[in-house]
Symmetry: C2
Subunit: 484 residues, 2 copies
């Protein structure tokens, strides 16, 4: 009994509640008919890998719902299911909101989501471009363009706007990546791309490899679909191939998720040498790859970084692109580039969950990439972001000695800080929030990054960046003093 | 073994492929370790409710993959899992695209999705407003409005644009429905609302009640989440309460999904009397309701229809709204109005799957509802749609005697045709497609509507509407002649 289910220990839903919800769903769905004898609490504890007290709490809740009872011989049996209860259940929304296949976001992530839009908050969490980074002339031209044409505001092709897909093909051709429009699916941002992949081409329970510090840990997109994540350590040149090899052999993973260019949250740029070795490895092992290509254009290096997809002679890589970090997150616009059967499957699922991507943003994005403005804009924001990075590094160098350490990002919008181990990051987070400063604690990106935080330098006005960093310093000092 | 899984007989994926994929996923995920003895083919056939030959086909595929073998004593055991195979599996995308939790769309639906955007097709399927229905002045004002403000194109609050939510509150207050902005979640169209509800607040395997002919059968949003749909017959005044009562008692359903105002596909307007009785029933049974409110504003009656939510004194109803049928589907803009705990839960999940709704459309929609244009626009399109309905009814009256029958829709954009039973609708569909006319066969909205079709009168220019209907007539006559 219950063999096909297991607890999600990474979920913010307590284990007793997961067990309660699961057994309740088995009773309601008829999988456990009335009279079924349940395993003993001890057996359940062993099976689910929890303390017996956790099982006791869960079964108490079930008994309180009048769903199970003692059979008088030390065992427990299913007493009622909802259809057998005399009085119909009230419209108890609380029981509904604990149902559903999706895990809730981690509580820290919920806290960030609900606070970073406050106007009185310094959001070092926000990765979008500050409004002063946009060339006014470009915005003006976009406004002049007639995006609001009723002819183009109907339901679109499942794969998205054809002209935009054609122009993306030209864009990738310039990078040495040859694809056709039917190998592209336009989606509502990169996160939706990952969601579609999890819902469309991965078995429940699949193992997924990823960098040990990764964006993917901060969203429940794979975890809610029952996937298991295995983190692979990375050095300053990117993911460790030796570790990847070892973990791949142990886990028989279905896919690798990687952010080779300016990892979120660490900012690491994978070297070309490492990219070649990584592709070689994946090709040998026939290991498909999701390449998250969100940050590649935001480089400060002389050489333009190349996507892993550049090496892809074997249709092994699903490249995920987005305009959120290079243009506007509010467009909710991204794309998947991959082999046609996979794109077809994902497009079909997308029509089932939201009937396609907003056509306005697609038209505006297409207008931009067809114009000369887009490359000018990219050039411009690279310069601005580099100045902002240097601005923040300067503040760090002058103020944060002994409080934290960092490496210098070669692109992207994040700096990853390793905090003095005498400071509790979770306490620091709470103290900063009270002082109206919000940052991303490292543990949302990894279970082994309790002592790191991620800050972004792209969003806040420079004076607010400085002010918030000084407040952060103040909070760190106060936490340190409490410890000594 | 396999107790918690069952076949989806409504899926377009053949049963043998569902069984094959499922057992393979159990082997790959380790649920069935090497050496596990499988039930006999006969036992499996009984358990899954299929013919033995279906099981034989599935196990042959598993054997061909070298995953199972005979144990020499008439039984079958797990031979390999992917990690034990000598050669690593190729990046066989075909095996990936049969994975995933989502069912593919029905093949007819896929065919429609992939053909209705062709410029050489008369799409009687498309429900959006023809471009000539928009008041040019309104479009001009929308273009003049500065929607492209970088300040408002970042990541937004999980619930969506606050001003839009406030204005929706005023809109519903005018209808006698009192809600606050935090009881509203902005989503990417009504379909996404349903997806979020299925992923967020319903247990896998839940029973859902709905009108026997319903939009919900044409999308896999609930089916992919493992829900079971139970259709309730409706008469010209809406869903039958007696039948609802009977089915509710039998199924212990979790929720009712209803389109009370201008049902898709039948066009039926539920009477006020029926709405009252329906709400009374749901309140007595504590049965929550998803009210799909997509078409209410498109009324031709003297009295403005009211939403079921008007009667909702008990927070029983989740109302789903959309601007797709009254404005632009390309905006991908809808909303859910409901009790706060449910809205919070659904907002949290939305941040996990696509990080919120496009902010451009939200700003433009908000601009409209704040202006006087929106109510003028609604008034205008009601008039136009009524004329178009009459135009089509006139063609039907003059040409389709003996070929089909219909009732007169009091609003919305659809006419539901009952076809002469001597005509095979599936053959008619193919014949029409060859003649470049596309309609929606009834069986995508119900398993008992093999002899109906849905046509829309909102989209095609009038001359194309006429031409396509005459082609439809021609195809019907040809099908009839083949039969005689």
């Amino acid at each position: 009994m219950f063999e096909e289910w297991s607890l999600n220990f990474e979920s913010s839903t307590p284990c007793y509640l997961q067990i309660y919800s699961y057994i309740k769903s088995c009773i309601f769905s008829g999988t456990l008919p009335i009279g079924t004898k349940l395993p003993t609490q001890k057996e359940l504890a062993i099976q689910f890998g929890v303390n017996r007290s956790t099982v006791v709490t869960a079964t108490e809740l079930l008994a309180a719902d009048d769903l199970i009872k003692s059979n008088g011989k030390g065992g427990t049996i299913v007493k009622n299911n909802a259809s057998s209860l005399n009085a119909p259940p009230p419209p108890n929304w609380t029981s509904y909101i604990h149902a559903g296949s999706h895990y809730p976001n981690k509580s820290t992530v919920q806290l960030i989501n609900n606070n970073e839009h406050r106007t009185d908050i310094y959001a070092l969490t926000r990765p979008e471009l500050s409004k002063e980074l946009f060339i006014p002339e470009m915005l003006k031209e976009m406004r002049m363009y007639n995006a609001l044409d009723p002819d183009s505001l109907g339901y679109d092709h499942p794969n998205g706007n054809f002209l935009l897909r054609e122009n993306l093909c030209s864009y990738y051709a310039d990078l040495g990546v040859k694809v056709n429009p039917d190998q592209i699916l336009i989606v509502s941002g990169a996160l939706q791309a990952l969601y579609l992949i999890s819902a469309g081409i991965l078995f429940r329970g699949s193992a997924i490899l990823t960098e040990a510090q990764s964006y993917i840990y901060s969203v429940n997109v794979f975890q809610s679909a029952g996937m298991r994540l295995f983190g692979i350590p990375a050095d300053e040149n990117g993911i460790s191939i030796a570790n990847l090899e070892k973990t791949h052999s142990q886990t028989n993973a279905s896919i690798l998720y990687s952010i080779p260019n300016f990892n979120n949250p660490t900012g690491i740029l994978m070297s070309e040498e490492r990219k070649k070795r990584l592709y070689q490895f994946c090709q040998n092992r026939k290991l498909p790859v999701i390449e998250d290509d969100t940050y590649r254009e935001l480089y400060f290096t002389e050489r333009k970084p190349i996507p892993l997809k550049f090496y892809d002679t074997n249709e092994l890589i699903l490249l995920v692109g987005s305009c959120s970090k290079v243009l506007f997150p509010g467009f909710r616009l991204g794309w998947i580039v991959g082999t046609k059967p996979v794109i077809d499957r994902l497009a079909d699922i997308k029509t089932q969950i939201d009937l396609g991507t907003n056509t306005l943003s697609q038209r505006l994005m297409n207008f931009l990439v067809e114009s000369t403005y887009y490359s000018q804009h990219l050039e411009h924001i690279r310069g601005c972001l580099r100045e902002r990075r240097d601005f923040v590094l300067d503040i760090l160098n002058r103020n944060f000695h002994g409080l934290c350490s960092w490496s210098i990002p070669k692109g992207g919008v994040y700096i990853w800080l390793s905090i003095n181990p005498n400071i509790s990051v979770s306490k620091l987070f709470q103290r900063c929030l009270k002082n109206k400063v919000l940052f991303c604690p490292g543990d949302i990106y990894s279970s082994h990054a309790n002592n790191s935080i991620r800050i972004s330098y792209s969003y806040l006005p420079l004076r607010d960046l400085e002010c918030s960093l000084l407040l952060l310093k103040q909070c760190m000092l106060e936490e340190l003093n409490l410890m000594s």
